[in-house]
């Protein structure tokens, strides 16, 4: 009872349309951008593998795939870049109470990230337009800086997010002013490395499974060409290697969370009271301070969290009244992520086993059906993971320092812009998918050359 009331009260106190509109707009914008950004991180690597194979082994299939993927990459990068730009606007437009007092504390990683945005954008231009312009060798290696700057760029942005989850690198003086700012310490905060690794693996998994799943669908439809085969194998293998690592890193993240953000942890695990010998709660919802409809696996909660069945695990009772995050959203999202993660590890294991036994992917239709769904599932896991992180941090925008309701903008028109952004992204998402399908179809038909208003016969 106590806890449920405390969830409602502060929300009623800040019934402020701007807060909801701004959170919603931020969620839409970030949820959209992260998909494209993950492609931006991982896709150049897959393209590099295909292109490298084509170049070294004089393999038509590899080159064909690289060319095909580079066309899709052009579209994904463009949409990724513009959706990221809007985010930098929104940081200031929606969250002045974050960016005003703390913009300087967390600005450094953004500034460093800019360097890698430049490198990415520069070399993507050169690679895309270099197919029939640069020497084959130079052209191939322009992919390397693109792939590397994806790694670096994602690191810097993740340091910001993990700073929001565990702020460091400054002191708050008794009069409330922020002193002793050390932007380097803020950037290299203690959560950054794990968050980055987890995100990186997620990006490789999502982009890899998604790309592979388009070829798995072809395979199911009876297309067993060498293009389909290699097109499946390259991204799937990378994603399959990432999958078990991801579960390991996720476990580290979860245990770190127990120390750093017990409120989020308790919500994730749906544990009302702090206790030893805690069960693992699967499913279930939280109503009036009670867990309803869950399957409880005895002792597993403590075992996973502390490596000891007698270990003590924090529950929602450690959270002060009014500071409890939306428990159900966080719990469900976490379960979805972990469930999908487990499924993907099994799928990857099946693939690995078959490869070990007979140097080839499994024949079973069931495997291919699983592989066809793996991409969308990985995408859902990624969005679910972000929901855990961001919703689980509520009501704080900066954990235990700044409340989201204190950070929000007072501008008029946020509701309108939230609606406009949603409409824009729905259309943009649909059109992006349609265009990617057109690219696939046209490349299948061998018609890769087309400049819109161009003189006939020239190519891009």
């Amino acid at each position: 009872m106590r806890i449920e009331e405390s969830v409602v009260e502060p929300l009623l106190a800040v019934v402020d349309a701007n807060l909801y509109a701004a959170r919603y707009q931020m969620a839409i914008s970030l949820g959209f951008h992260i998909i494209l950004a993950s492609f931006g991180v991982a896709y150049p690597f897959f393209t590099f593998l295909a292109h490298y194979r084509g170049y070294r082994k004089r393999d038509v299939v590899g080159l064909r795939l690289a060319k095909r993927w580079s066309k899709a990459m052009a579209v994904l990068f463009a949409v990724g870049a513009v959706s990221g730009t809007i985010l930098s606007f929104e940081m200031g437009m929606l969250w002045p109470g974050l960016m005003g007092p703390y913009g300087d504390v967390i600005g450094l990683p953004f500034a460093l990230e800019g360097i890698f945005f430049f490198i990415e954008a520069i070399f993507i231009g050169i690679y895309l337009y270099g197919w029939n312009r640069l020497s084959a060798r130079v052209h191939l290696f322009t992919l390397v800086p693109i792939a590397l700057s994806g790694l670096a760029g994602s690191f810097f942005i993740l340091t910001v997010n993990s700073w929001m989850n565990g702020p460091e690198g400054f002191t708050i003086a008794p009069d409330g002013s922020i002193t002793d700012i050390n932007p380097w310490a803020a950037m290299f905060n203690s959560g950054a490395l794990v968050a980055w690794l987890h995100m990186l693996l997620a990006a490789y998994m999502m982009a890899g499974f998604l790309l592979a799943s388009t070829y798995a669908v072809r395979w199911l439809r009876g297309n067993r060409s060498s293009v389909t085969r290699l097109g499946f194998l390259i991204p799937f293998t990378v994603a399959a290697i990432a999958a078990p690592l991801q579960v390991m890193v996720g476990d580290i993240a979860a245990r770190a969370l127990m120390e750093r953000q017990p409120a989020k942890f308790a919500a994730m695990e749906l544990l009302p009271d702090t206790r030893t010998r805690a069960p693992l709660t699967v499913g279930g919802i939280y109503v009036d301070g009670e867990v309803v409809g869950a399957i409880e696996i005895p002792l597993l909660g403590s075992l996973l969290a502390t490596r000891d069945v007698n270990g003590e695990v924090p529950g929602l009772d450690v959270v002060p009244d009014g500071d409890v995050p939306p428990v159900n959203v966080v719990h469900i999202a976490f379960q979805v992520m972990v469930g999908i993660g487990t499924f993907l590890v099994i799928l990857a294991g099946w693939f690995g086993w078959s490869w070990f036994r007979r140097r080839g992917p499994p024949e079973s239709k069931l495997f291919w059906i699983g592989a066809s769904s793996a991409g969308v599932l990985a995408l859902i896991a990624l969005e679910a993971g972000w929901t855990v992180t961001e919703v689980g941090r509520q009501p704080w925008i900066v954990w235990q320092i700044v409340r989201t309701s204190d950070a929000v903008s007072a501008s008029t028109g946020i509701v309108a812009s939230a609606i406009a952004i949603s409409a824009l992204y729905i259309v943009l998402g649909i059109v992006t998918i349609v265009v990617l399908r057109i690219i696939a179809r046209r490349m299948d038909a061998g018609d890769d050359v087309h400049t819109p208003y161009g003189p006939s016969g020239t190519s891009t």
């Binding site: 004089r58 513009v82 437009m93 430049f118 954008a121 007072a410 265009v435």
Partner: protein, 361 residues
Amino acid sequence: MTLANAVLAVIWFGVIAYAVFGGADFGAGIWDLLAGNPDKGERPRALLERSIGPVWEANHVWLIFVLVYLWTAFPEAFVSIMTTLYIPMMLAGIGIVLRGSSFAFRKWAAQLRYRRMFGIGFAAASLMTPFFLGTVAGGVASGRVPIGNAAGDAWTSWINPTSMLGGTLAVVVAAYVAAVLTARDAARSDEPDLASYFRTRALVSGVVAGMVAFAGIFVIRSDAPVLFSGLTDTYGGAVVLLSGVAGATSLVAIYLRKRQLSRIAAVVATVAILWGWAIGQYPWLLPDVLTIEQGAATDAVLVALLVAFVGAALLAVPSLIWLYTLTDSGALDTARPIRSDTSDALLQDLVAAGNETNLDD
């Protein structure tokens, strides 16, 4: 020079780079918009697309650079600007999304009507984005942004004489720079008729830009007094004069078909306008309410930003130079003859040599 001034100089360097390079990309979109029906507009559009295709994403990063440096070095000014000028910023942001994505999609639209739809999205957004960014500049320059969370007026902060001047000037200058640069690209790729097509447009838009800038002096005098007295009390006025001289020089150079000179003079004219603004507004970040020193972050942060800038100069600038050299020499121009040792050539050789037989589809 104080640390805050040094970082502001870095930011201003970014603003100028965005105005010149990003501005030229917007201008290309504006000429695309004005290129007429699909038949008539086909060749100019193709040329514009080839000119900006490889570079627009890199040019766009300058904007992000500016935003990020601004919020880190001058956070209070940043949030005051963003929350007061929320509406034009949002519209510019939507314009950026529409523009980039339409540009990428248009290549793949097979049917003319879809191509036109994306073309219009791209071109209209190319007009809208610099206009709204220009109104933001005008709102700041005329002192309409007070400190605080949405403290200024949501409408008059950007619907006012200086903002309209800023928006209009951004659009016409972008169009002018783009026309000058594209005229040269056309000459290089042996399309003399297009070279003269853009030459005419460069002359016209150059004259219009000059007139708007001249009228702007009077707008600023009545509407942005802090900026105006800054210009008249310092050597800012001289810089504005330099802009005028450079603009006139570039017009004459265009007329005489001295393409290299016209390019340089057009860029100098653009840079000088922005430089003049900076001098005129110094030492105010937000005129009459916040000075550069008052608004600056602590030294540790400013130093970190300068370190990051050195990193950028070492890593990104050489790559950027390579990109511009490639495009400038036409090496990435898709209308030029194909070399024999490229990836495409390799693919074709392999297919011709029969390596394709392993494709059983």
